[in-house]
């Protein structure tokens, strides 16, 4: 893990005040390198406390607008806790796993991030959603979750984007998404 000061530095860079003066190219390469490298970099959302999802007794059954209620027992279901801001298809249903890409696809080095609440240990974690690219969309286990999802001008939290930057062969088509943890959210 990076030390506190580096962490804060990164945190600051992601806020709009600093980032508006920063080339996005460098932002992407920084995120990309950090995530692809061995070091796990906690890309802390700016307003993480407000956007962390919390388990709630209110059931969302039957209502697409219902509250996000994460579970920790089925990776292939859209309400699995780590998928709290996934927009696309779960790779575990396509020959990949929760954290690895299916055969024949390319792992992107870039990602968007979210803080997701794990109902088992009651901690929030930073998920760095990585797209598996270079294949037509899998079509299996499609989900649209938007916990903490921000507009496109805050792309590091935006899940509409094809996050295939940095994939081998410049493979820019979307197949599915994995949900690895890159650190604790708090």
């Amino acid at each position: 893990m990076l030390g506190k000061s580096q962490f804060d530095d990164l945190f600051e860079k992601l806020s709009r005040k600093v980032a508006s003066h920063t080339s996005r190219r460098s932002f992407i390469s920084r995120v990309g390198t950090a995530v692809a490298g061995a070091a796990i970099v906690p890309l802390l959302p700016v307003d993480r406390r407000g956007r962390v999802s919390r388990a709630n007794a209110a059931e969302s059954a039957g209502d697409p607008r219902g509250k996000w209620t994460p579970q920790d027992h089925d990776v292939q279901a859209c309400d699995y806790w780590r998928h709290c801001s996934i927009d696309g298809n779960i790779c575990d249903c396509a020959g990949g796993s929760l954290t690895s890409c299916p055969p024949g696809t390319k792992l992107a080095s870039s990602s968007w991030v979210a803080s997701c609440y794990n109902p088992t240990d009651k901690q929030s974690y930073l998920i760095s959603y990585r797209d598996c690219c270079g294949g037509n969309v899998s079509g299996r286990c499609g989900c649209l979750n938007t916990e903490g999802e921000l507009p496109v001008y805050r792309p590091e939290f935006g899940n509409d984007i094809i996050w295939c930057f940095g994939a081998e062969d410049d493979a820019m088509t979307y197949h599915c998404t994995i949900s690895p943890i890159v650190g604790k959210a708090s």
């Binding site: 709009r16 996005r24 820019m172």
Partner: protein
């Protein structure tokens, strides 16, 4: 070949085995009606033709000339490598044509109806291999290609289709498109010369709102707009406006914009609507509107969907998709549309749409149609916004229809 998908009418025939009777009744009362009446008219015509002893003479049809009620529905097929556009005559509720496109295409339509088109990307081997970005222009009645313009260095931003990431200048002669990586820029395509012109490097800004034939605006991460003046010989200039919204006032991804009068209508996640008049080539910010009352907000009301807002130029009315929803559900569909006076900010009415609606659009004629697209039901519902009544519907629109395009006529 075996066909598993089937129209609603077919569903009904096998319905009893699959669905409960309540669900069947719902199907009967909704999906089957619009298409049926179209098929019935054609059947009568053809029966008369046959009875009169006339011969069938197959040919290829032309679509009727486009008017303000020509509405285009784009189906990105949930990130599939190829996609599809349905062309619908809003008057009859008839699909009059379809256009093909590649991965995460951006459709556009000339405000004078002279062409339709899209910026698109294809790959040499379905979803891998050599990538080719191009802009295709199509005749608005034959849908045959008028132009196929190569975009060098694969500059397109691949993202869930954002209508205002790709835009025509008011004179329909230039197409502007957004580039995200490796660094923010706007591509300029000269449609008359049928060639790619240049990339304009910009700051950390997004979207493209053409105000004049040589001027467009963008929205920046810091909450300002960026004015871009396209100069001769690539002498482009950029200038930021004031910051007009706070960092925690999150603007939705799909504002409404009219290049014809330069009006930008931009709601936040909570229904605060920012407006700017860009027609002069300078940004004039109007007083923000609160679409929802404090009591409604407290009760969970908020905008939601994909294209959540539409703007009718002549009447200056804003249409906003809203519903009661939990936090962070800003992309879940809505069952209601608010009609708001853009001048006064007053709510004119609240339309109960009766369906899970992801996107809205409005025709720009004097008595407009309100278009309400349900991605889940794969159906475009057509409303009379004055009465709030559903007047027509078009079903079987692909697998994930999501974007409505109308001409700024």
């Amino acid at each position: 070949m075996t066909h598993a998908y089937m129209p609603a009418r077919q569903m009904l025939r096998i319905g009893s085995a699959l669905l409960g009777s309540a669900a069947l009744a719902a199907l009967l009362s909704s999906s089957a009606i619009a298409a049926e009446s179209l098929g019935v008219a054609t059947a009568k015509e053809n029966a008369a033709h046959l009875a009169a002893g006339k011969e069938d003479e197959p040919t290829v049809l032309k679509a009727p000339a486009p008017d303000a009620r020509r509405v285009y529905v784009y189906d990105a097929k949930h990130f599939a490598a190829i996609s599809q556009q349905f062309v619908i005559d809003g008057n009859s509720g008839r699909v009059v044509g379809m256009n093909d496109s590649g991965f995460m295409a951006n459709p556009f339509v000339a405000s004078d109806g002279s062409f339709v088109g899209m910026a698109s990307s294809v790959f040499s081997r379905i979803a891998r291999g050599k990538r080719e970005d191009y802009v295709e222009l199509l005749d608005p009645q034959t849908y045959e290609p008028i132009a196929d313009i190569a975009l060098p260095n694969a500059p397109r931003f691949l993202v869930g289709t954002y209508p205002w990431m790709t835009a025509l200048t008011p004179n329909n002669k230039t197409l502007l498109f957004y580039q995200f990586a490796p660094s923010p820029a706007v591509g300029v395509v000269d449609l008359q010369a049928k060639k790619f012109d240049r990339m304009i490097k910009v700051a950390d800004c997004y979207h493209v709102f053409p105000a004049k034939d040589d001027t467009f605006f963008m929205h920046c991460r810091d909450g300002s707009l960026l004015k871009v003046s396209m100069g001769q010989n690539g002498k482009d200039e950029t200038k930021k406006t004031e910051v007009f919204h706070k960092e925690n006032e999150f603007l939705i991804n799909h504002p409404a914009y009219s290049p014809k009068n330069g009006r930008l209508v931009w709601p936040t996640y909570t229904g605060k609507i920012f407006q700017a008049d860009l027609s002069s080539g300078e940004a004039k910010f109007l007083a923000p509107i609160e679409a929802l009352t404090d009591a409604e907000k407290k009760d969970g009301w908020a905008p939601g969907g994909w294209q959540q807002v539409a703007y009718h130029r002549e009447s200056e009315q804003i249409f906003l998709l809203v519903d009661k929803r939990a936090d962070h559900k800003h992309k879940a569909p809505s069952r209601f549309a608010l009609v708001i006076d853009a001048k006064t900010g007053k709510r004119i009415r609240k339309i109960e749409l009766g369906h899970e609606i992801d996107s809205v659009g409005v025709s720009q004629d004097a008595k407009p149609q309100l278009y309400a697209l349900s991605t889940g039901a794969r159906t475009l519902f057509i409303f009379d916004p004055e009465t709030g009544k559903e007047t027509n519907k078009v079903d079987q629109l692909g697998t994930g229809p999501q974007v409505i395009t109308t001409a700024d006529m």
